[in-house]
Symmetry: D2
Subunit: 248 residues, 4 copies
């Protein structure tokens, strides 16, 4: 089976600047994600990072991407509007998008959801627990009823997003907060999954259940390009007039 | 009872440039809408138009607006990004927004929904029929099971919007199309209603059932400002630590 | 202003049989709820209990009820199918329904949602915290961003309900669980609110924020009877044929 | 690839009693559906009909069914409550269900949705047109933007269903009505698709686009059994207490 084309985008700053992060992800978060996607669902993976020309997301790269994964934390404003709008357009035309952790504040995500993406947060080494809300959703396949994450940053409600089309996971935080942490959105002909876990100082993406969720998410987010479905169509002839002309 | 503060925004170009439109709405679409809102729900109405400074939508005007109504057709690009983003911000903080007819392509609406707003269209004098889908929705109050509109422009599916939070009306068009024509969205702390009927060459806004729907929509869209709900909150102390400190 | 007709239904067993419960609600949970609804929103309240004939819910009582509130815990099976189906029918025709706490397992609620209503539970004196998810929803009006409940029974996910039409509150529990604890459903022409807090051994319904939520819920759930909207209509003449007959 | 186990249930009365129907479906609607599912998606098909013992839907048959398809028209009341509740239980535990045409009034569907399933109807040889609303939905894969159906019974709004979790198709009828004709629901751990086309006197299920939709629907509706997800769990030990016991 030929796998999907998955491009993993990463700011790739913290891993280079911060010793603590480098210890967890010496080759960068994107390479860890790329490896398990290759191994587990046979994805054709590529990576792209902030400091490449056009942030590595040229028209050609996106044309060849079935699903784009976006990890970012602090440098959202360094992403050009042009590239952010290019990503938005590709999603609307059918490219899947998976937005991880602080990507709630990334330009492409905010352009696609229309809200601020703001939330409540606290950087502590907080125990988190992910509860499965929609067990029949493809993203929850083979995911247990709850998943413990020993340490992660707290991101909590109120999370300023539109009500998701499907709410797959809700998280519990030891400090007293909750969050809609696994949210599906359909926008245009494209599918988007926001997934909260994954602060850069903790090995969250090395956890098997988290890898299962992300593999499922890639398969779910892929629906194929369909630019016609989001185009403006001046239908000079009505379907009824066309039908009568054909003598039906 | 003191009424809501409703600002009705109109491009106000067609009524001045086009004899056919002027016959239907000699003082502009905005003034007809303003009059029935005053009469039927005691609204405090104000109007604003494209060619006023800041399109008539200064920070002060929006601060004093409970619900903004937006009618536009061809000059979406003449609206400045700054004003469009100002409207978006006010909606997210709780101002109601009612988007009429071609407003599906307006900058504020597209920024708030994140999709193209594209659709299928045809300018004919087409009979349209609005079917009530959610009879218990406040916007459907006292609206019959279906409403005939003798002539209107055809706007049909696929309409590139996110799945609405509530789908109140679906329209039938004589030429063979359908449309999700009355759609509610919640974005941030604000409520948005898109309503398809109302081409400028037909007296659609003079029809009593359409006026009932718009009066209901104004009442529904008002929820009050709540900027805190869409702000980013750095919660240094967790609710649990605060609770223990208080000795609870 | 004439208030809404609210009927509060209670099993009314625990308060009579259990000393611990009687201390908290000496006249029954229903009387406490009735009192604050009268005081705060001028409701015309009536009560009905399990051991009355027809459980106090005759056709006449329901015909005169705008919103029915349902508190129950252990005796769901003692409610007759006939009365449960009567309540279901009235809701579908437009009567509002507010289902409290263990009412998730009541016959009328299960018939209306179609799922089991099952959940995870534990009877401990657990600290609970209610987070407001949809601040612009009428039920969240004047409700703070979170509400602490010092002690309540734990009801957690996975809660087997259909995805709610609006998710207004999510709860955090000290033991590690979360729950969709404030859920709106529209069924037929009627509106339903499920609200999790309120175990009989804790004075949850005496808490001001909880009272605010229930007052809001009563106002929201009222939409008026509309039996036509849920009837089967044999439309022998099509709208188009009727239109041509009228010469339109 | 081993295909899914699909059981196709049919009243199988009209085909035996009515000459007009027999001409269209001489071996019954179920056999036509079974054949294209076998051919196009390699399904392992079985059939079951009203007049078999237990209507052909024993516990064993359902245990071995991934997706159940239900076609029925006039004899809904002849289905026993026991079998209807058995089907409901299997759906909640994860069996997929596809409800065709008049199945909107079938006992299993009404038990699962909680509403009346009532609608507006007229038996005429009406031209119908199906519009694709969610192009990225798996059920819309390879389905054109609209599908003409030369003749079918009219089923129109208001259709008394809960707002579907996804609205994939809306239909236009020549007589002036519209209908939410392709609706997805998730209930418990199971997925349900209601699809309106398919009156017994027209060869609708022989149309290639309709067959594509039904093949897609079978693949979408299959999510596997997950009884745990809909069970009531008395969690005597909280996840937090278990964690501390393990010394985490």
């Amino acid at each position: 089976m030929i796998g999907l084309n998955v491009t993993i985008w990463n700011e790739f700053e913290a891993e280079q600047e911060n010793e603590e992060v480098r210890k967890v992800y010496p080759q960068g978060i994107h390479s860890v994600i790329g490896e398990f996607l290759k191994e587990k669902i046979n994805a054709n993976t590529a990576t792209a990072t902030l400091h490449e020309p056009e942030h590595g997301l040229t028209e050609e790269v996106l044309n060849n991407t079935d699903v784009l994964i976006w990890w970012a934390h602090l440098s959202h404003e360094k992403v050009s509007d042009e590239v952010a709008e290019r990503v938005q357009r590709h999603v609307l035309e059918g490219m899947g998008l998976i937005v991880l952790h602080s990507g709630h504040h990334s330009k492409p995500f905010k352009k696609l959801i229309g809200t601020t993406g703001n939330l409540r947060w606290r950087e502590d080494d907080c125990h988190t627990r992910l509860w499965t809300i929609e067990p029949s959703h493809p993203i929850a396949k083979n995911v247990p009823m709850y998943v413990d994450i020993p340490q992660d940053e707290m991101y909590g409600e109120r999370f300023d997003i539109p009500a998701p089309d499907s709410l797959v996971f809700i998280s519990w935080f030891a400090g007293g907060e909750v969050m809609r942490s696994g949210c599906c959105f359909t926008r245009g002909a494209g599918k988007i999954f926001y997934f909260q876990p994954g602060h850069e100082t903790y090995p969250v993406y090395k956890q098997p259940e988290i890898q299962t969720i992300l593999c499922n998410a890639v398969n779910w987010a892929h629906s194929g390009r369909n630019a016609e479905a989001v185009s403006c169509i001046h239908a000079e002839d009505s379907p009824e007039s066309l039908r009568y002309e054909k003598g039906e």
